[in-house]
């Protein structure tokens, strides 16, 4: 008998290997169009992985925003600029060293992390217990919704402020462009 936990671990590992392959493709490919499409594939695979990791709300948002809207934005930017990346002039060593040192530091910090998927992790034992208090406090069975809109409503207000500011910035940049074009 194969239990559910083993299947979940196996699917997680397979999806992570696929994500790794797509990431290598994004790093190596020279055409920007291909890179954008690969990034969409990467986001969709990531959304699938989020479903396996029981983060269904995040998975839906990632599929809609990461694989959908951001791909459209990238394609729009490619239409207004170039689709071909200039060939590399020389082999640079510095970025590789920076990346490897970062990876080394993160791997070093990894040794203290609790094991993946175990219920004894500090994240499940300490802090506010939203799972127990959500129904009595708010009456919403979806705990992510109750935390997002009720317990952490100010976070969401800050988020909308950031989106609003970014929208103003984009409008200001594009309006200036139109004005110059008219002149």
């Amino acid at each position: 008998m194969i239990d559910a936990a083993m299947i979940e671990t196996a699917v997680t590992i397979i999806l992570l290997l696929l994500l790794g392959a797509v990431a290598i493709g994004i790093v190596r490919v020279r055409g920007l169009f291909a890179a954008v499409v690969l990034l969409g594939v990467y986001s969709l695979l990531m959304a699938t992985l989020f479903i396996v990791l029981d983060a269904v709300d995040v998975a839906m948002t990632e599929a809609a925003v990461g694989a959908g809207v951001s791909t459209v934005f990238f394609l729009g930017a490619l239409w207004l600029t170039d689709t071909v990346e200039a060939p590399a002039k020389r082999r640079q060593l510095m970025p590789l060293i920076v990346a490897l040192v970062t990876a080394g530091a993160l791997l070093w910090g990894l040794s203290d992390l609790p094991q993946f998927g175990s219920p004894d992790q500090p994240i499940h034992r300490q802090g506010a217990d939203y799972l127990a208090s959500s129904l009595p406090d708010t009456g919403i069975p979806n705990v992510v919704t109750s935390v997002l809109a009720s317990y952490r409503g100010f976070d969401t207000l800050g988020e909308t402020t950031v989106v609003f500011t970014a929208g103003i910035g984009i409008l200001a940049l594009l309006r200036r462009r139109r004005g110059e074009g008219g002149n």
Binding site: A55, T61, E62, E85, P95, Y130, S134, V144
Partner: protein, 136 residues
């Protein structure tokens, strides 16, 4: 090693994005690398919330083990903020393309350098002619 496989794979994805951001000169490619980096950070946050054998944090009498909802909430916010900053970055790239005619970092730097030296020369020349004009 096997127990930490998912975290090690996540770190690989993170570093791949970081490498693209630093190594590539094309601005759109840099933003693609930044998106890759960002999406991998989402995974780093979602991973510890998972309990093997559990289910999504939607309360129901027939389930007892749920994933932790807090990382999900944080990452929902991060995804929306991420798309806003990405849109702003792409708008800046479009403006740079219109102002410089290229989105390659080294070409922009070269053009900036030559423009500066040209304006310096113009200034020096302007000063000389100015003095010459006064003298005459």
């Amino acid at each position: 090693m096997i127990a930490h496989f998912s975290q090690i794979a996540t770190i690989f994805l993170l570093v791949a994005g970081l490498y693209v951001v630093i190594a590539r000169g094309n601005m759109v490619k840099k933003l693609i690398g930044l998106s890759l980096f960002q999406t991998s950070v989402y995974l780093l946050y979602i991973l510890p919330g998972k309990v093997l054998g559990g289910t999504a944090p939607i309360l129901d009498a027939s389930f007892a083990v749920y994933a932790n909802p807090l990382p999900h909430v944080l990452i929902l916010t991060a995804i929306v903020v991420g798309i806003a900053t990405l849109a702003l970055g792409l708008t800046l790239v479009v403006r740079i393309k219109e102002a410089y005619g290229t989105i390659e970092e080294d070409e922009i730097l070269a053009r900036d350098g030559s423009k500066e030296s040209v304006t310096d020369k113009v200034k020096i020349a302007g000063n000389k002619t100015g003095r010459g004009g006064n003298g005459a």
